[in-house]
């Protein structure tokens, strides 16, 4: 059980406070309700580029990191298709410094043309390092537009291509800030050994006078239910053929999410999962195979991915996978097997919840989903699942017509 207090400033900033008496540290997590899904299709990669610029100085502060480091703290951020999340961890006695820094950059950014130039370059190097200069690195750049045709999940957070980043102007960036970076579009979560009154007073002091703005209503095109299998084959200089089967699933808070999470563990686990035992060990088609879900806020993807063994082919795998999934649909999981899966998830969650930063991020994320208290209901959502629910869901999920398949073929030397 994670206890928390919640209040909202008059300018719309939502504040969460989780008291942790045992720590000498403070965590300040600031989540902005903007991700790559909110980008203009002609200017992708902006949310992420913007995250870089947020460290480039604000109205009263030339450099974000230096004052935080001088306070003994550290800061970083990440951008996903759904959100942009900034976090600071520092000695509790210097909490004010983190609040001062975060409030100043929420109030107004003051980045220079030079910081735009440099961060543009840094992001291009990041693009190369993570997506282009790695074997299989561009798989998701190829896969997203195959699995999504309408929803903006069809591009990756790094952007559709480098050109969008290369072409970003100061005006574009300013407009992005205006639209998405304001109290009404943010959730702040503070963790540490503080009193609620103290937190209320401090947050009001630092953030209270940031002008309110109307939150722009999000109207994203939703992904229609796929009617027919989509398949794409690309050839790359890679050592082995690889494959990515994706299946359309529901939103983060839908029952689907919990069912899909359990199913992916059940069939994808190493050593005991169906994919491993049948396709890797018995049929010896693959050298690795696993299953997982993307867990996005809007409709996500269930992914089965792996690499083909030498002298075996993508086609052989395809011929074996579909009948295997068909057979799986016909089998009901046993009650003890389900309980084991849930126990494993609960164990993993107990370890994650140990971390202060994890707690702060998760509280913020669930608040964004509608209510931070949902964090304490996750376990129940799993335990209320019945074995018949899983079977029914598997039958619906593993539908060839709702599959997008990317195959990467190794280029012959």
């Amino acid at each position: 059980m994670i206890h928390f207090e919640r209040f909202t400033l008059e300018n719309g900033l939502r504040v969460l406070f989780h008291k942790e008496p045992s720590t000498p540290l403070a965590v300040v997590n600031v989540l902005y309700d903007v991700g790559a899904r909110d980008e203009n299709p002609k200017q992708t990669g902006f949310a992420h580029l913007f995250e870089h610029l947020m460290f480039g100085g604000s109205v009263h502060i030339p450099d974000f990191d230096a004052p935080l480091q001088a306070a003994g703290g550290q800061s970083n951020a990440f951008t996903s298709n759904d959100i942009t999340n900034y976090y600071n961890v520092l000695p509790a006695q210097n909490l004010d410094t983190a609040l001062w820094l975060e409030s100043d950059r929420m109030r107004s950014l003051a980045f220079t043309p030079k910081s735009l130039e440099v961060q543009r370059q840094v992001v291009i190097e990041e693009f190369k390092q993570r997506y282009l200069n790695q074997p299989y690195g561009d798989a998701w750049l190829q896969l997203r537009p195959l699995a999504y045709q309408k929803h903006p999940y069809r591009w990756a957070t790094i952007g559709k291509n480098i050109k969008h980043i290369a072409d970003a102007t100061m005006d574009d960036v300013r407009a992005f800030f205006q639209k998405h970076y304001h109290p009404n579009n943010a959730i702040i979560c503070i963790v540490g050994n503080f009193e609620l009154a103290e937190i209320q007073q401090k947050v009001a002091y630092f953030f209270g006078d940031i002008p309110a703005q109307i939150k722009v209503e999000r109207k994203l095109p939703q992904e229609p239910i796929q009617k027919r299998l989509r398949q794409k084959v690309i050839v790359r200089k890679v050592p082995a053929d690889s494959f990515y089967y994706t299946f359309q699933m529901g939103k983060r808070l839908d029952n689907d999410y919990y069912l899909a999470d359990l199913l992916s563990d059940h069939i994808g686990n190493e050593k005991t999962g169906l994919l491993f035992t049948e396709l890797q060990r018995k049929k010896r088609l693959v050298s690795e195979i696993t299953a997982y879900i993307t867990g996005s806020i809007d409709n996500g993807l269930f992914v089965i991915t792996g690499k083909i063994n030498p002298k075996r082919s993508l086609m052989e795998l395809d011929d074996a996978l579909w009948p295997l999934l068909e057979k799986y649909k016909g089998k009901k999981m046993s009650r003890p097997a389900l309980q084991q899966l849930i126990l494993k998830l609960q164990t993993a969650k107990a370890f994650q919840d140990q971390g202060l930063l994890n707690r702060a991020m998760n509280l913020s994320f669930f608040e964004l989903l509608g209510d931070a208290a949902l964090i304490n209901k996750e376990s129940e959502r799993f335990t209320s699942i019945q074995t018949t629910d899983l079977q029914t869901y598997a039958q619906q999920l593993f539908d060839k017509n709702r599959c997008a398949l990317l195959q990467i073929q190794a280029q012959l030397p």
Partner: protein, 426 residues
């Protein structure tokens, strides 16, 4: 929505005043001397349901041939006389446990995670699997195959190529330079793996870290189980070391970026210069505001990230700078790194920068000491090299005391471009 009136009295231009980290308390775990000679360190008082047990074996890649060490670690929990790999996994799944086997040069650490009420049950299964491992030929064939496939993927990564050549050259002439090659996988030998297990696991248990609010009764059972095997670890003999310097580039056609490793032999925490050098290393490249990051990323935009680190082993250490930069800016990056070395040698570090880094390091140490898991890790870091937690009090005192003059001397002594080993790939 109503806008709040501007409060003219608040001057947000001024940074809040800072309070330094004055004191950090370090808490040692309870120590139990097991009858077999190994040590058990136990930490409780967690206030949550988690627990883990961590077994340290003198079974790293330098303890024998690196292939046997690696395959032995990979097959540890893969079958006994009574159970198959799948049956073991199912038994662990039944209690919600996870495990991890991590092989380094000197040690293999085997960790089991579970909720505290399940840990003993999980460990009983795990213990039998770990010590009673039979290394079935069938599992070996599969692992060798999987590993060689993964190796081929790794070989396409510039970072992998650079890191391997760096290690080979840095450790030239010593057992630490041994590496697995792709063709070695074809000669994997079950009897060599079993011999490795016999010598380095059944007789190689060095110490155990146990953490979680588990009962006294369970603690006793853990001790009994751990006493099953004798701890007979041979003293490591001093090794010959002829590190190379100079520069080597591995050309990779079509690479967009070059991976870079630049470094030299150094020392570990037992050396008198360690603490002061840590401050110098941080200034140079070990935090976001470091000189390398400020110059090469934040000013020039050559890279997504660059960092410098001190890597430690039981008897020595090394210093390394790592980055991936655009192929066209590789040479320019080298020049900038060289300039940063020279700046540290020729110019005194300003008070402001030095104070910032000192505060930063204190804050990071506070973070590293936060919570029982972190504290146990801090303890393990010093225990491994024969020190105790008083090292950290010494470290704090040294950080507070070090001045610009001392750092300049250290830069002159340890950060000479001509003495560096410079490796790039891509």
């Amino acid at each position: 929505m109503k806008q709040q009136p501007k409060r003219a009295v608040i001057d947000k231009n001024i940074a809040p005043s800072l309070r330094p980290v004055e004191h950090i308390s370090f808490v040692a775990p309870h120590t139990y001397h097991l009858k077999n000679g190994a040590l058990l360190y136990f930490r409780q008082g967690l206030q949550n349901e988690t627990s883990k047990i961590e077994l340290h074996f003198a079974a790293g890649s330098v303890c024998g041939d690196p292939l046997s060490a690696s395959l032995c670690a990979g097959l540890l929990i893969n079958g006994t006389k009574q159970k198959t790999a799948k049956q073991i996994q199912k038994a662990l799944d039944a209690v919600g446990a996870y495990y991890d086997v991590s092989l380094s040069q000197e040690t293999t650490v085997v960790t089991l995670y579970a909720l505290k009420d399940q840990l003993l049950k999980a460990y009983q299964v795990f213990h039998d699997s770990l010590f009673g491992a039979t290394f079935p030929q069938k599992e070996l064939i599969e692992l060798v195959h999987e590993r060689s496939q993964k190796f081929k993927v790794q070989q396409q990564k510039v970072s992998f190529l650079a890191q391997r050549l760096f290690q080979r050259s840095l450790f030239a002439g010593s057992i630490y330079a041994q590496q697995i090659q792709l063709e070695d996988f074809r000669h994997a030998d079950r009897s060599a793996i079993m011999a490795f297990h016999q010598q380095h696991y059944l007789k190689g248990l060095k110490k155990v870290f146990l953490i979680g609010d588990i009962s006294v009764l369970h603690l006793d059972t853990f001790q009994c189980l751990l006493n099953d095997y004798q701890s007979e670890i041979p003293k490591r003999t001093a090794f010959e070391w002829k590190p190379e310097a100079g520069s080597t580039h591995i050309e990779q056609e079509e690479a967009l970026q070059s991976a870079v490793r630049i470094g030299r032999p150094l020392f570990n925490k037992t050396h008198p210069d360690f603490c002061a050098f840590s401050v110098l290393n941080t200034i140079l490249g070990d935090y976001f505001g470091s000189r390398l990051m400020s110059n090469i990323r934040e000013d020039k935009g050559y890279t997504y990230g660059i960092g410098s680190h001190i890597v430690e082993n039981s008897k020595f250490g090394y210093f390394v700078i790592g980055t991936e930069v655009g192929v066209q800016t590789r040479t320019a990056t080298f020049l900038e790194i060289q300039k940063e070395f020279e700046r540290l040698q020729n110019e005194a570090i300003s008070d402001a920068e030095l104070e910032l880094v000192k505060s930063y390091l204190m804050g990071q140490l506070l973070k590293s000491a936060d919570g029982p898991y972190a504290m146990l890790d801090l303890f393990a870091n010093v225990e491994t090299i024969g020190l105790d937690l008083s090292f950290y009090d010494h470290y704090i005192a040294e950080i507070k005391a070090v001045d610009a003059k001392k750092l300049q001397e250290l830069a002159k002594q340890y950060l000479n471009w001509d003495q560096m080993l410079i490796i790039s790939a891509g």
